[in-house]
Symmetry: none
Amino acid sequence: MSALDTPIRRRRKDARPQELLDAALELFVEKGFAAARADEVAQRAGVSKGTLYLYYPSKEELLKAVIREHLSTRIAAGAALADQHRGSTSELLREVFGRWWQDVLDSPTSGVFKLVITEVRNFPDLAAFYQREVVEPGERLIGRIVQRGIDDGEFEPLDVACVVHSLMLPMVMCCLHKHSLGACAPHDDHFDPAVFIRSHIDLVLRGLARQTGRPVGRGAR
Amino acid sequence: MSALDTPIRRRRKDARPQELLDAALELFVEKGFAAARADEVAQRAGVSKGTLYLYYPSKEELLKAVIREHLSTRIAAGAALADQHRGSTSELLREVFGRWWQDVLDSPTSGVFKLVITEVRNFPDLAAFYQREVVEPGERLIGRIVQRGIDDGEFEPLDVACVVHSLMLPMVMCCLHKHSLGACAPHDDHFDPAVFIRSHIDLVLRGLARQTGRPVGRGAR
Amino acid sequence: MSALDTPIRRRRKDARPQELLDAALELFVEKGFAAARADEVAQRAGVSKGTLYLYYPSKEELLKAVIREHLSTRIAAGAALADQHRGSTSELLREVFGRWWQDVLDSPTSGVFKLVITEVRNFPDLAAFYQREVVEPGERLIGRIVQRGIDDGEFEPLDVACVVHSLMLPMVMCCLHKHSLGACAPHDDHFDPAVFIRSHIDLVLRGLARQTGRPVGRGAR
Amino acid sequence: MSALDTPIRRRRKDARPQELLDAALELFVEKGFAAARADEVAQRAGVSKGTLYLYYPSKEELLKAVIREHLSTRIAAGAALADQHRGSTSELLREVFGRWWQDVLDSPTSGVFKLVITEVRNFPDLAAFYQREVVEPGERLIGRIVQRGIDDGEFEPLDVACVVHSLMLPMVMCCLHKHSLGACAPHDDHFDPAVFIRSHIDLVLRGLARQTGRPVGRGAR
DNA sequence: AATGAATGAGGGTTCATTCAT
DNA sequence: AATGAATGAACCCTCATTCAT
């Protein structure tokens, strides 16, 4: 009965902003912000062009809303997962970090990475926002995990910042690939990101592992 | 007079297409294809808008010329370097592969990666071209090197395709970063790609190294 | 309950059209018809946009209703005043005509003059209506008064139509000024319409006065 | 030969701004700024919509250019005329002032008065500009003339500011009329501004004239 | 070959008007 | 009767492309 209480108009009105954000993300990621037409965003959200402007004052504000929507919350969720983890650092990275990126990749959020990479230079406020809300918290989070592994004697004491990048950049790249080359039709490209993500973490963990036998790498020459 | 005059004019005239390509790459990478204006390309190349259209029949053809220009040759050069190398596979990856990526990053070619990622979905021909001319040759090249390391007993017999991606995706990501967030003003971000590239290769090589002692990784549990 | 309820609601409902007309006049005069938005009219009248359209079928009809409302009645009132007057024609003009214009200027009707001037060319029906209902009756009324002054030997026998315009145009102009420059902020302009109206009538009456001494004006040369 | 030297394109280019200003004034005066469409301005100037924007960056800047173009120079020209005059103050007003207004009325400048009256409230910068560049210089100019007439004993010592307004407001009103009611089709309105202007100045001069016989006006009661 | 004035289709945005609630 | 969400035609402005010079 309470569901019936809410008139249809109102129910639709409440849903509109999200529907518009979803449509906008899809289209902006697909074509880029400049090439995406406002009417097409509206159409894909099932409304007319004018309706879009009832909810967002301009295409640019829509872009910012799209980006804001997706990023900050994701990072916070990742941090919570990491804090809750009980077990070895290797396990934490393999299980939690791997699954988290897999989830991001499967969700529309993956597109936001492409969007940010593509559009930061046209919207400089984005740079500061993204650096502050996404890059830095994310790197701090993974950095702390890696550092813990070193402190615990599980990992070699390598440069933490570099390890963080070694771990994360391929993940981000998977997101970008999914929405660029990976979205183009003739897929003889047998690249499977799920397999790769696990494999990559394993490889990095092997590289991080405290060496008991003879050392490997530059120092060995 | 014509003796002195001609060569100068001729040289400038011959240089026009290249100057236009350079300017176009710069601008397309900076703003994206759709947001870059044809006049600004011309202006940055030091010619008028009309001249641009004497050399390229449309903005879209200019884009394709820009991309064609940069990619195929780079890969061939990389392959030649690899073939000439004498020494261990680790050294080959560290020295040749590392330096080669450093060179790409320092050159305008790095921007092409951003451009391709950004624009493939709007220009589907690009996808096939890039896949065929860049991705596949590049992956084959690195794949062969990794395979050789395995065959020589220098590397663990891990999944070659995955290792190739672990090696390359961060490099590509460095290129993208340079032209997006990395180009935005407030750089307290102390990310140094040169350091990272070496560090990343080292880490991957550590992960690839044939384990003489107890094994590490998933299989160890 | 309904006994108390009904009259209040009824009163408000009955008042709606007038409130809308008032708000519309205000806004149309301020911004011009084309630049005034229908929602703002409704909002200023304290109702929603939809309600406006319950009372007036279109913005244009609202404009016409606004203009019709204000003009005809004013003239009739002026005529009645003139007919009732007892005394010299000079006194009639000074007292009745002056006070009447002062009242118009102080009332929202003053805005209608601006509105008509501004909008006639876009709404040609307005021209005929205004000419027939306002200009002609008004000029006839003042014309008759001036003629009486001449007939009585109080005024020189000048061209009546011209004298009528000399009397009235500045008054109309005061109305326009009030709603254009006069409504703009930095008023070091110490123009006081009340003083001017009296002064202007005096000046014109001096000019109209039957000359007993040597003649003045063009004929004197 | 020098006429042939200038290529047609260039000749047209030099003429465009003025052609656009003329068309814009015409249309803005006719329909009002908001109701005038940019394409129609362009069309009336014989160019396409895009061309308009090669010369003026926005419709609003076009409006400001139109107004700036017409006003300041007119006033300066009037002042020069007044300074050159030799003869009685009455003659100066009748001959110079009257002819000057007649010229304004016959020229497109007359429309600018309507435009300013109509649009000041939407463009507040206009108010200051118009007050400073037109109203004040104009009133000072006429004020000085009237004052001279008083000082010379030619005029009664009436309030100068009011006399100035009595002289000028009807003239401005004639300009407005020409572009509003006066421009509407069914002209049984036999109002002839040329006749009225002369008649009005005569009437005011009669009112200003030093009374040698018994005084007239309020003071007479 | 080079220019840059001109074009006009196209996209962002507004707003009068409608209509389901 | 009243509301305000929704519509879409229309308007301002941009910019890829053309072409006379």
